[in-house]
């Protein structure tokens, strides 16, 4: 067996290790990635919630943004022309969740932006990184130098034991707070570590030079608490945590308010704020922030055992006469111990406990609108110096 996939898929720097660990590899966003290892999706999911799971997320885009002036405030204000977030207020060593909106107020992508001294690091979705880079180039290319990093891997260590595990290899890392981001040395190379993730658990995301990523990955796997975890459990963990998957739960046909992502838009960018609006689609987004939207992303908890997956139609009545929405993500939630979904419903049905009926293989099965997350977030908020709350 070689470590080159048969088709023209890309490999991450950790590809060889996935094969050695017995991973089942699948194509995803142009990459060949592990969907699961020998333990299986449920086992990897439960291990991550109980202990620590190790994910290779090197397929995601890592983009650096350097202001030509040397003043990060210039880059921040330029970026705010594309993003309804408070980038100018982002302090050094902190990061935030952001959205790229289009002229109609739809969501082009979601991402994390970290302030690193005089520049910024954006982590964007794999399937969108080329378009995001192009859009950034068009909008902020005049005042900023942009760099897509191809020589760094991205590793996520997630779960309640991730802090004590990482501290052993990278002293000081466990002192990071949720959404804090700093550099640490590991075997002579700089790791860019943030306390964040996509599972609802405490954890870290580590940007590491490709040539030392194998060493870091295997050193982490040697820790007793750590097991490798694939895309399958990454998806079930984020679903239980109520976190959106771009391309399924949010895209250019959904607005931030419809997607229940108001928390990502601070007061300073809303009506009455010092830098209100000024981003693509601001007219729609600002009016929806004030008046609400006609539909809303909610959790949906099937009453029976049958999973309700992406594309399942939601009705108000068992006869299926009144269609009120659509499931955008759904499957089995290992920590919930049953099926869980999220999707969009008309606003009058977006109340926890509302009974709805979802069409599964021609039958109308009962489900209830459910608050999210399905599993409480357990982030490491030792102190709250900032307002990145959701």
């Amino acid at each position: 067996m070689t470590n080159i996939p048969e088709s023209n898929l890309c490999c991450t720097p950790l590809h060889r290790q996935h094969l050695a660990l017995g991973a089942k590899m699948v194509p995803f966003a142009g990459y060949e990635l592990p969907v699961q290892y020998r333990t299986g999706i449920i086992g990897e999911h439960l291990h991550t919630r109980k202990s620590a799971g190790l994910f290779d997320v090197s397929h995601m885009g890592q983009i650096l943004l350097w202001p030509n002036s040397g003043n990060p405030a210039d880059a921040a204000l330029e970026l705010e022309k594309l993003v309804p977030a408070d980038i100018a207020g982002l302090r050094d060593g902190r990061q935030r969740y952001g959205l790229f909106t289009d002229a109609g107020g739809g969501i082009l992508d979601d991402f994390i932006v970290a302030r690193r001294g005089n520049h910024f690091l954006l982590i964007v979705n794999a399937s969108r990184k080329a378009q995001d880079f192009e859009r950034l180039q068009d909008y902020v290319g005049q005042c900023c130098r942009l760099q897509m990093l191809e020589d760094r891997a991205l590793i996520a260590l997630q779960g309640p034991e991730s802090g004590s595990v990482l501290e052993k290899l990278v002293p000081g890392a466990a002192d990071l707070n949720f959404m804090e981001s700093r550099d640490f040395m590991f075997q002579g190379s700089a790791l860019w570590i943030s306390r964040s993730g996509y599972t609802g658990e405490d954890g870290f995301e580590i940007s590491v030079p490709a040539d030392v990523s194998e060493g870091l990955f295997s050193d982490l796997l040697e820790q007793k608490a750590v097991q490798p975890a694939g895309l399958g459990s990454r998806d079930s963990l984020r679903l239980e945590a109520g976190l959106c998957l771009h391309g399924s739960d949010i895209d250019d046909s959904t607005s931030p308010v419809e997607a229940a992502l108001e928390w990502a838009i601070p007061d300073v960018r809303r009506i009455g704020g010092r830098r209100a609006g000024g981003f693509p689609g601001d007219a729609r987004v600002l009016s929806e922030l004030a008046d609400g939207a006609g539909r809303r992303r909610v959790g949906i908890r099937p009453e029976g055992k049958a999973p309700m997956r992406h594309g399942t139609v939601v009705h108000a009545d068992q006869e299926g006469r009144r269609r009120i929405g659509l499931v955008t993500s759904g499957g089995y939630g290992p920590s919930v111990g049953g099926p869980v979904s999220m999707g969009y419903v008309e606003i009058e049905f977006a109340i926890s406990g509302t009974l709805v009926f979802c069409e599964v293989r021609g039958r109308m099965l009962p489900a209830k609108v459910h608050s999210m997350p399905f599993i409480e977030h357990r982030y490491n908020r030792m102190r709250r110096p900032d307002r990145e709350v959701h």
């Binding site: 299986g40 399958g232 079930s236 997956r309 089995y332 293989r361």
Partner: protein, 119 residues
């Protein structure tokens, strides 16, 4: 025990077959989280999708390997779908069909033929 190209196994006892999914199928599906079984007593046609098996990843149909009537279904796997992962060829069976034509079993693959299919 015989096999179908749809990765099901068939065990003939008189005019009744017991049907399940193969170890290869289970390996491909991964963790099984939901099973929907046909109604006992229902008439089924060969090739008809009569049951559903869902893994964490996706839903797949289970087909009737031959025409006949469903005489028994394995409620244990509906209650505990992971039984199919644990023992696909034994306790993880799906349903039994009383065959309209018992000779139809000659059309199924033997173990060697099935193994060739999965390699």
């Amino acid at each position: 025990m015989k096999f179908t190209e749809d990765h099901e196994w068939v065990d003939l006892d008189g005019a009744v077959i017991t049907v399940g999914i193969t170890e290869f199928a289970v390996e491909q599906l991964g963790d099984i989280v939901f099973v929907e079984l046909p109604e006992q007593g229902s008439e089924v046609e060969a090739g008809e999708d009569v049951a559903v098996v869902e893994s964490v990843k996706a839903a797949s149909d289970v087909f009737a390997p031959a025409s006949g009537s469903i005489t028994e279904v394995n409620e244990a796997i509906a209650d505990n779908p992971s039984l199919v992962n644990e023992d696909p060829l034994g306790n993880g069976w799906f349903f039994k069909i009383k065959l309209d034509d018992p000779d139809v079993c000659n059309n199924f693959l033997d173990e060697e033929g099935y193994r060739a299919l999965t390699q």
